[in-house]
């Protein structure tokens, strides 16, 4: 590599004039960032999001280290970009790895505390279900509340409710008549019972949140719990579930069983009950992927096609782009500017629109492409329906989408191939084809290798194209796990994450994502090493 000659980072020389001002700006900026981060900390701590606290601390460390430490020269240039990469690329990778070690899936999305709280809120039900009651609310001068509930048979109960958390009361209730009820407006509902005055329905909304936590024990009948401001339901008793932190079990009073916590759910009589919580399961998901036979077949099939797709995409776009760029490498050629402007059009149109347009064009029944073929006497091609043609379609569209980029790159790189080299070869008697093969192409490859590797990486994980063009289809007939002929690993994973078992399997999907990431990274790292060797042979273009 020819680079600026290796040079140690220099300490600021005394002749540098803007030092003071520069330093002020720098300190000011650092102080500002520190202040912003410090502002975020309390909220994050109160949210108990420790990972983010750690990230914030790391960012602060990077900023302060880079701009305050006198010897940190390169870091000053790298830090701004690195922060964004750290937060929005690296952290997502780390977090996805974490998710892949848990049991995140439908049924396990809450924290354990939340799950316990939900269970403990449930009431014992009588076998025939809850009975709907009409509710009236009363209040005495001291602010104490009382409930008057009427069941569908007109049976009335009146009493002072207790808090949900308090022990049930067994004291017999007094009837309104015993307390002395008066119905001044004659609507059949007492306006005054003993010391208690009726609160009109619309005014109960102000105390609605209190009502929610109140229960009226009706000895020998059940417990009335408030449903709306004017209705309640009669249930068999108070809490159905009680959690015991010491043994980490949940007691179900309805069925009289103790349910131990295991693997993210409470297990009652050997059956996990919903909802469960998020828990750490180690490498279970990975083990599942590597040992599940039904998964392995499709996974391997998709992997092979994925490699072929990515490699062919790069090859095709590069070949078409190079062929065109090479064709326009002659200054005498008229209309070069027009050619170039028109050829980049596929690149200019927003990709996802083009893909949808292509999907319409390739429609086997009403698509213009088949109409065109028909007019040449060729019968309908099942573009998106047949395994082979669907793959062809995917590559065709991807080539269309990607060749202008390669065309631009090759146009630039071709100009950079020193004319003297070509001339020298020609003088040695090499023909145009030979010059191209032995001089131009190797130099071009060295210069564009990082871009080609990048393009491979992008296409390996190309989600939008198969998602919008074929949706992975056509399906593989008779597959035990849904898989399509044009599925890439990434779309396959996606289907796996959302349509296997019950609901969504996000942890499993995350595990596949991590596996894919390491595969692509390995392929890329290998390619970079290889191109470095090429570079050593041919030098940097």
């Amino acid at each position: 590599m020819t680079t600026g000659e290796g040079r140690e980072p220099t300490l600021p020389s005394p002749r540098q004039r803007l030092n003071l001002g520069g330093a002020l700006v720098r300190f000011g900026a650092v102080a500002l960032i520190d202040a912003l981060l410090a502002l975020a900390l309390p909220a994050l701590i109160s949210q108990r999001s420790w990972t983010l606290v750690a990230l914030v601390a790391l960012v602060a460390l990077m900023v302060n280290g880079a701009y305050l430490h006198p010897r940190a020269q390169a870091a000053r240039w790298l830090t701004p970009g690195l922060i964004f990469m750290l937060l929005f690329v690296v952290w997502p990778v780390v977090y996805t790895s974490y998710v892949s070690l848990t049991n995140y899936r439908t049924g396990n999305v809450q924290s354990k505390d939340q799950v316990i709280a939900q269970f403990e809120r449930q009431s014992l039900q009588s076998t025939e279900g809850a009975v709907a009651l009409a509710l009236e609310v009363y209040r005495d001068a001291g602010g104490n509340l009382a409930f008057l509930v009427t069941d569908p048979d007109g049976e009335v109960s009146f009493g002072v409710p207790r808090l949900r958390s308090e022990a049930p009361s067994t004291a017999p209730l007094q009837t309104p008549e015993e307390l002395g009820a008066t119905d001044t407006d004659g609507d059949g509902i007492p306006d005054q019972i003993g010391d208690f005055a009726r609160i009109p329905p619309l005014q109960r909304f102000g105390i609605a949140n209190q009502l929610e936590n109140l229960l009226l024990d009706i000895p020998g009948v059940g417990v009335a719990e408030v449903q709306t401001t004017s209705s309640a339901r009669l249930v068999a008793g108070g809490r159905r579930y009680t959690y015991d932190a010491e043994t980490d079990t949940l007691f179900d009073a309805q069925n009289n069983v103790t349910c131990p916590a295991a693997g993210g759910n409470f297990v009652c009589d050997g059956r996990p009950i919903d909802p469960g919580w998020v828990s750490f399961v180690g490498f279970d998901n990975y083990q599942n992927i590597f040992t599940n036979r039904e998964l392995q077949g499709p996974f391997f099939k998709v992997f092979v096609w994925n490699l072929v797709f990515a490699a062919l995409s790069v090859l095709l776009t590069f070949t078409v782009g190079l062929a065109l760029a090479n064709a326009f490498q002659d200054d005498r050629l008229r209309g070069k500017a027009m050619y170039r402007s028109l050829l980049i059009l596929p690149y200019a149109i927003p990709g996802f629109i083009s893909i949808i347009i292509w999907r319409g064009l390739l429609n086997d029944q009403i698509g213009p492409v088949n109409d065109l073929l028909n007019s040449f006497g060729i019968s309908n091609v099942p573009w998106l329906l047949n395994p082979f043609w669907a793959k062809v379609s995917l590559l065709l569209v991807n080539t269309w989408l990607g060749f202008p980029y390669m065309f631009l790159i090759c146009s630039g790189a071709l100009q950079a191939v020193p004319a003297e080299l070509k001339e020298a070869a020609r003088v040695d008697g090499a023909g145009a084809a030979r010059v191209f093969r032995t001089i131009t192409l190797p130099l071009l490859l060295v210069g564009t290798a990082p871009l080609l590797i990048g393009s491979f990486g992008f296409n390996f994980n190309n989600f939008v194209l198969p998602f919008l063009l074929t949706n992975g289809g056509p399906p593989v007939p008779g597959a035990a796990v849904p898989v399509g002929e044009t599925d890439l690993l990434i779309t396959f994973t996606f289907d796996l994450a959302i349509s296997s078992g019950r609901g969504n399997q996000f942890a499993l999907g995350s595990a596949v994502v991590i596996i894919i990431f390491f595969m692509v990274a390995a392929i890329s790292a290998f390619s970079f090493r290889y191109t470095r060797r090429l570079e050593e042979v041919y030098g940097n273009v």
Binding site: T106, S111, A132, G143, N209, V226, P477, S500
Partner: protein, 429 residues
């Protein structure tokens, strides 16, 4: 519905994010938080005269675009009567589930949200939706709607609409719809200049289990065994039952006879609208599009019978859910029972977006509207889509295997056997 479209990505994000936020403070209403008790002097209500609600009592409702205006009107009435502030936010219908699953546990979700009945299993398993007790009001709704929202014995929403597919036909091409599928072959053969005869989505390049379910059900096939008392039995997969295979074999014969082509949703729609396809099997959501065009004359009929049986389409229901994370349960339930489950609101919801009403008295008022009446009759014949979370493992394999049959790539028996095996494998694991 057939698949979860683009919003799928969002699902992934959202649900996972929920867990990540799990450490966040408990926003759940726990039993012990009622600090003010009967013993404490209550002054708010005494001071209040007309509006009694304190400032911290407010409701957040998530609704889709079509229903937002109605909910806003109801909310205004509720606020005026009770003093409780109700905020209505518009969301994409499909996003609501995913966002509730995420935002709910983090304490940022709505108190009340609109949703489809086939979300119930997932929402309940995640502990996001709270059961609702309609009490005597449950009798005011169509039974199929109540059943649709019932999961493990509890009702999870106040329904407002049901929907099922039926049979659109082009009256310029065919003056009268056939009563039986067997008549169709003759009708199709007698028509010139058409591209396709019966447009059923789910062929071509897009799987669609939903639109093909009538063929599964027509001769006795089913997805999961169902018992009214205990609900769905996910260990009993009926996709390779005799009836299901017979139904899809019938479908296969119709394809071979040229009655049903390999259309996807878009193609079927485009061909019907352009008068190149006399029949189109799809739902009431296209009525608006058809009314807005002038190219063709159309009508709608029930799906023709197959072997003398009325094919049961899937019935979907929509309703208002109550969040398990609401901090104002009593107020939210008052809003649902006293303001949403009423004839006026249900009528207004129908007027805003004419879907088949779930509220019986509103439905009865539509007897003189032939299109609405036909869709209602079709829904009455239908089976609610199973609302168990295991349905997630059904849509893709079933849709894809039928797609292969539709495109002539696979025989019915093999397709249904494969679909059943895939579902059993996924549900069992």
């Amino acid at each position: 519905m057939k698949q979860r479209s683009v919003a799928l990505l969002a699902v992934l994000v959202l649900v996972l994010a929920a867990c990540g936020g799990g450490g966040a403070g408990d926003t759940t209403v726990t039993a012990d938080t009622g600090a003010t008790t009967t013993a404490a002097p209550v002054t708010t209500a005494e001071a209040a005269t007309t509006t009694a609600a304190s400032a911290d009592v407010n409701l957040l409702v998530w609704a889709d675009e079509a229903r937002t205006p109605v909910v806003e009107e109801v909310a205004a009435a509720f606020t005026e009567a009770t003093g409780v502030t109700v905020t209505v936010e518009t969301k994409e219908f499909g996003d609501i589930r995913d966002q509730m699953v995420t935002a709910g546990p983090a304490g940022e979700g709505a108190d009340i949200f609109i949703g489809a009945h086939d979300w119930v299993g997932e929402l309940a398993a995640n502990g996001v939706a709270e059961p609702i007790d309609l009490g005597a009001k449950s009798g005011e709704f169509e039974q199929v709607a109540i059943d649709a929202f019932t999961y493990q014995g509890s009702l999870y929403a106040v329904p407002y609409a049901t929907e099922a597919i039926a049979f659109y036909y082009n009256t310029d091409l065919v003056p009268e719809a056939p009563a039986t599928f067997e008549e169709l072959a003759g009708i199709c053969a007698g028509l010139d200049g058409i591209e396709n005869c019966v447009g059923v989505p789910g062929g071509g390049d897009a799987p669609d289990a939903y639109h093909n379910y009538p063929f599964v059900s027509a001769l006795g096939g089913y997805i999961f065994g169902y018992d009214p008392a205990s609900g769905y039995d996910t260990t009993d997969v009926g996709l390779d039952s005799e009836g299901a295979i017979a139904g899809i074999t019938f479908l296969e014969e119709q394809i071979a006879a040229g009655v049903i082509g390999s259309t996807n949703y878009d193609t079927a729609k485009a061909l019907f609208l352009d008068g190149l396809q006399p029949f189109w099997m799809t739902g009431p959501w296209e009525v608006g599009n058809l009314e807005g065009q002038t190219e063709i004359n159309w009508a709608v009929a029930k799906i023709p019978t197959i072997g003398g049986n009325a094919p049961a389409p899937f019935v979907g229901a929509q309703g208002f859910f109550l969040s398990a994370f609401s901090e104002n349960m009593v107020v939210a339930q008052s809003f649902l029972l006293d303001y949403i489950a009423t004839a006026e609101t249900q009528q207004a919801l129908y007027d805003a977006d004419p879907r088949n009403p779930a509220y019986t008295s509103v439905l009865e008022g539509l007897a003189d509207n032939p299109v609405a009446a036909t869709f209602a009759a079709s829904a009455a014949d239908g089976n609610p889509m199973p609302n168990v979370p295991e349905m997630g493992a059904v849509w893709t394999p079933l849709g894809e295997q039928i797609q292969l049959v539709r495109n002539g790539e696979l025989a019915a028996t093999e397709a249904m056997t494969a679909a059943a095996t895939a579902v059993r494998g996924a549900v069992g694991s």
